[in-house]
């Protein structure tokens, strides 16, 4: 007999009500129950950072939480950050600086950096590297990501 729970979660401003198993991972809930496949899963034990989302504004690893724990909370995923036609300044900067290669780790890195840049709008290189040191990327060697963050900081401070 499977136990099921009713939950209500707000994701990217939309309220979703679903019935889920208590063991369902939040990452699987977002990807497969809600179809928000921009959040990617790579290690499923909280090391690589690919599945990072904002949970009540804080970056968390959605593979380390259960969907039921999100009941009543607000989530922002990469789909809520910008669209191809209307990119977030961080996404714009990543595009310009070639911060993306295969793009698999990218959503998690973006969601890690959004609150980081809010807290530290003018970071230096060491601070940026520390901020993304919990996100693994196998393609870029991180240099163009660091460049993208610097560019984003410039863009965002110029627009304020």
């Amino acid at each position: 007999m499977r136990h099921l729970f009713d939950i209500g979660v707000t994701v990217n401003g939309t309220r979703y009500e679903r019935t889920v198993e208590p063991r369902l991972l939040l990452s699987d809930f977002l990807r497969h129950d809600l179809g928000l496949t921009g959040t990617h899963v790579s290690c499923e034990h909280g090391v690589c950072g690919s599945c990072t989302i904002l949970f009540d504004g804080q970056p968390v690893r959605s593979c380390l939480m259960f969907a039921v724990q999100a009941n009543g909370h607000e989530i922002l995923t990469v789909e809520g950050l910008g669209t191809p036609e209307n990119l977030h300044p961080l996404q714009e900067a990543f595009w310009e600086a070639h911060s993306v290669q295969c793009g698999f780790c990218t959503p998690g890195i973006l969601m890690t950096l959004v609150p980081f840049l809010e807290e530290n709008p003018n970071p230096n290189e060491d601070e940026i590297r520390a901020a993304i040191s919990g996100n693994l990327c196998r393609c870029t060697g991180y240099q163009h990501i660091v460049d993208g963050v610097k560019l984003a900081a410039q863009k965002m401070s110029a627009s304020q």
């Binding site: 496949t37 899963v41 910008g82 793009g103 959503p107 520390a130 990327c137 196998r138 163009h144």
Partner: protein
């Protein structure tokens, strides 16, 4: 052709979708009624399979089917070999033993699949895997490649006399003769260990059999969708046109996604047909460490003969190469190692003997670098030791041995990974070495800075390593370029794409040929319904083989455009120009027609067409290089070592690359950054540790350490451009280059940083622990 885009740092057209989470990866495919697969995998490295009882699993609610080797019946077949077996070259031994879909009689590595469970969702499928009762009778595992070759070793494949999978000797000149007269012989045992590719996206397959249309669609994280389609059709007894394989956006590959067929890759489509339901399997990270291919373990007995003034007379090397449990990838890796063991140097006498060895470990196939880093490690280590012995500066001894620019094409008289003669097509090595030395300030560092730092008690070392990379091998790729009625250009090609920026760099070539905006060129790749001739993305060949095929087809379309426009505009072809999506008479620009209008004229709905003409502004062309193009470069590094903690800080890193014509420098820089990053992992952080039972002890990203942003330094890049004469674009590959020289560079720089220990680093990777052990050993000696 104008050069408005080639050579420019163009932003990638694929990025907006990747940045917003809209790009489709295999695990994003959702189909109504889709079932999910999970595998029971062996916990033992070597064992007889006595029985499997799946009854409890089958009885679990939500489970649709469970298959074992036995229940597959006649459909159970070992996988086909991935590359052709070696031709009958004299004295080559090659025992082909390919992977099986599910273990039938004997387990040969941990993680080998024994049963597949199909259920309503992955959670249930994994529950049911635990329900399966399996009886395995463990055997002694074959782990160490040297012990594997001893006569009393257990056998991985019982039908063979030994664990020898292959044996190949190659010879150039006469090493034995030259050895007699040499002033100096450097002879060492050198060991390179195993690592993992660790693409951030694990493997995955989704298959959908449509019984009504009798068609199979497969989404696969493969580097070679066309080969997968053809292989699936053959194995499943379908026509190739009934099978469509799509390699959508792939989350990094680095070689192991070129391996085919993985057991899962064959099984998921087979199950989909069997059950007439869509089926998905996505590998988890734990499976990735056991079931996705790995590389690099080799043990070398190497020697170099030199003159007193540091000239290399010859190189001789006998090595064992770990193949893992099977050898589907043939001799590619040991041949690559053999082809790189002379580096960029003029070596007249060479002997190499390679023995490929079966072990009870995960299968070995190429990982970014693919046998090349090992070859470069050997030649560079020997040369460093010789330089020390002879009292010659490391840069100077290299300069004395580089192949001179007038010696190209330089024939090595051995065979390469494609069994073709190894010929270095073109090169100019010295300027690249000198540029790297200049950029890092080699002379100034050695003369002034290092003595000052040493006086302060700091351990800061410098290294500099030139290298070559065989790239862009055949057989061929193709492309179809079409001008659509909108005036936009559609390009279809067969190679898969895994983050290399093909959508953009290939579009740049077409935009220049046809005089259109690069944003108006749309590329489709990795979908066999769009283009079904070609081999795949491997061996750093996209920008050579596929790019030149695309260039050739765009050129044909250009000819068609000019021919038709000449008639329509009533002007000779040589007076026409293509620019801004318009064909116009160069001297009278108001006489013009847009590409879109011309495309419509080329596809008339009514009226008569001339006999022998083809509709459309479209062309398909192919490119197959005569042989591979040889890229080259030099990397240099300054590193500080803390002899208390063994932690390191890379203070400067310089990479000078020559990959012929650069199509998009932004993308090339990114390729180099990523390659170096992997190389740093291979040099100081990443090692797969197996125990004596063949158990992998660090099968998680918590324990297997790939470099983070804190370990990878800023990389300073310099470019030189020596065009390849083997293709019209003059390009060479660059995808693997970054990774190749790094372990050799680390070894040299670490020895240089710790002079008082008189270290000899004869292994890769090092690690803080391993460096600590080496230093303690030296302290005991001193």
């Amino acid at each position: 052709m104008t050069k408005k885009y080639i050579g420019k740092r163009i932003k990638r057209s694929e990025d907006p979708r990747l940045l917003t989470g809209e790009a489709l990866f295999v695990d994003d495919v959702e189909i109504h009624g889709m079932l999910h697969a999970a595998f029971l995998r062996s916990d033992y490295a070597h064992a007889y399979l006595r029985s499997v009882d799946v009854s409890a699993a089958q009885a679990r609610e939500g489970v649709v089917a469970v298959f074992t080797a036995e229940t597959m019946g006649d459909d159970w077949q070992p996988g086909p070999p991935l590359v052709s077996p070696p031709p009958t070259v004299e004295d080559v031994i090659f025992h082909s033993r390919t992977q099986v879909p599910l273990v039938k009689d004997k387990v040969r590595h941990v993680g080998e699949p024994i049963a597949i469970v199909i259920a309503e969702n992955r959670y249930i499928a994994e529950d049911a895997v635990d329900d399966i009762m399996v009886d395995l009778e463990p055997l002694d595992a074959v782990v160490d490649i040297e012990k594997a070759m001893q006569p009393d070793s257990p056998l991985v494949h019982d039908d063979l006399d030994s664990n020898l999978a292959a044996h190949i000797e190659q010879e150039k000149g006469d090493y034995a003769a030259i050895r007699e007269g040499a002033d100096l012989i450097i002879k060492r045992r050198i060991v390179i260990d195993r690592g993992a590719a660790v693409a951030m996206e694990n493997r995955g397959v989704v298959a959908q059999w449509d019984a009504k249309s009798q068609r199979l669609t497969v989404w696969d994280t493969t580097q070679a969708p066309i080969a997968i389609r053809n292989g699936l059709a053959a194995r499943l007894d379908l026509s190739e046109h009934q099978v469509r394989v799509i390699a959508p956006f792939i989350g990094g590959a680095f070689g192991p996604k070129m391996m085919m067929f993985y057991p899962e890759e064959m099984l998921i489509p087979w199950v989909s047909i069997k059950l007439d339901r869509p089926v998905k399997w996505i590998e988890d990270r734990y499976e990735n460490f056991y079931a996705t291919t790995q590389e690099r373990r080799q043990v070398h007995d190497a020697e170099m003969a030199l003159t007193l003034d540091g000239r290399i007379l010859g190189v001789s090397d006998v090595f064992l190469h770990d193949s893992g449990a099977y050898d589907p990838y043939g001799l590619t890796l040991p041949l690559n190692t053999q082809c790189h063991m002379m580096g960029p140097y003029d070596v007249a006498n060479y002997y190499s003997e390679s023995k490929v060895v079966f072990t009870n470990k995960t299968i070995v196939t190429p990982v970014r670098g693919a046998g090349r880093p090992q070859g470069i490690f050997i030649v560079e280590r020997l040369l460093d030791l010789a330089a020390k012995e002879l009292g010659i500066d490391p840069v100077e001894i290299r300069k004395r041995n580089l192949i001179p620019p007038d010696a190209f094409p330089y024939e090595h008289k051995i065979i390469d990974q494609a069994f073709a003669p190894l010929i270095f097509d073109s090169g100019n090595y010295k300027p690249v070495l000198e540029k790297a030395a200049d950029m890092i300030g080699y002379d100034q560092f050695v003369k002034d800075e290092q003595p000052r730092l040493r006086a302060e008690g700091r351990h800061v070392g410098i290294g500099i390593v030139p290298f070559i990379e065989t790239t862009g091998v055949g057989p061929y790729e193709g492309a179809r370029v079409t001008v659509e009625a909108s005036g936009k250009i559609n390009v279809a090609t067969g190679v898969g794409t895994q983050g290399q920026g093909h959508f953009t760099s290939f579009a740049q070539i077409v935009a220049d040929q046809l005089g259109v905006d690069v944003r108006d060129v749309h590329l489709v790749t990795g979908d066999t319904a769009e283009f079904h001739w070609g081999t795949g993305t491997f061996a750093s060949r996209g920008s050579v083989v596929a790019a030149n095929a695309i260039n050739a087809s765009a050129k044909l379309v250009r000819e068609k455009i000019l021919a038709l426009a000449s008639k329509v505009l009533e002007s000779p072809e040589d007076e026409l120009e293509l620019a801004d999506g318009v064909i116009r008479v160069a001297d009278i620009p108001r006489i013009s027609i847009s590409l879109g209008e011309l495309a419509m004229l080329a596809n008339p709905l009514r009226g008569a067409v001339e006999p022998g003409t083809e509709p459309g502004l479209e062309a398909t062309a192919y490119f197959g290089p005569q042989y591979g193009a040889i890229a080259f470069g030099t990397h240099a590094m300054i590193v500080e070592v803390d002899p208390q903690t063994m932690m390191i800080e890379i203070k400067r890193y310089v990479a000078v690359e020559d990959c012929g014509t650069v199509i998009n420098p932004l993308i090339v820089d990114g390729q180099i950054h990523g390659g170096v990053s992997l190389g740093i992992g291979n040099s100081y952080y990443e090692k797969l540790v197996f125990d004596e039972n063949g158990q992998l002890l660090n099968a998680s990203l918590m324990d297997y350490l790939i470099p983070t942003a804190a370990e990878v330094p800023r990389i300073e890049i310099g470019h030189e451009e020596t065009r390849s004469p083997l293709n019209p674009l003059g390009s060479k590959g660059v995808g693997e280059a970054g990774a190749i020289p790094v372990p050799a560079l680390f070894a040299q720089a670490m020895e240089n940083a710790l002079p008082e220990y008189d270290l000899e680093i004869l292994e890769a990777p090092l690690s803080p622990n391993r460096l600590f052990e080496l230093l303690r050993e030296k302290e005991r000696e001193l």
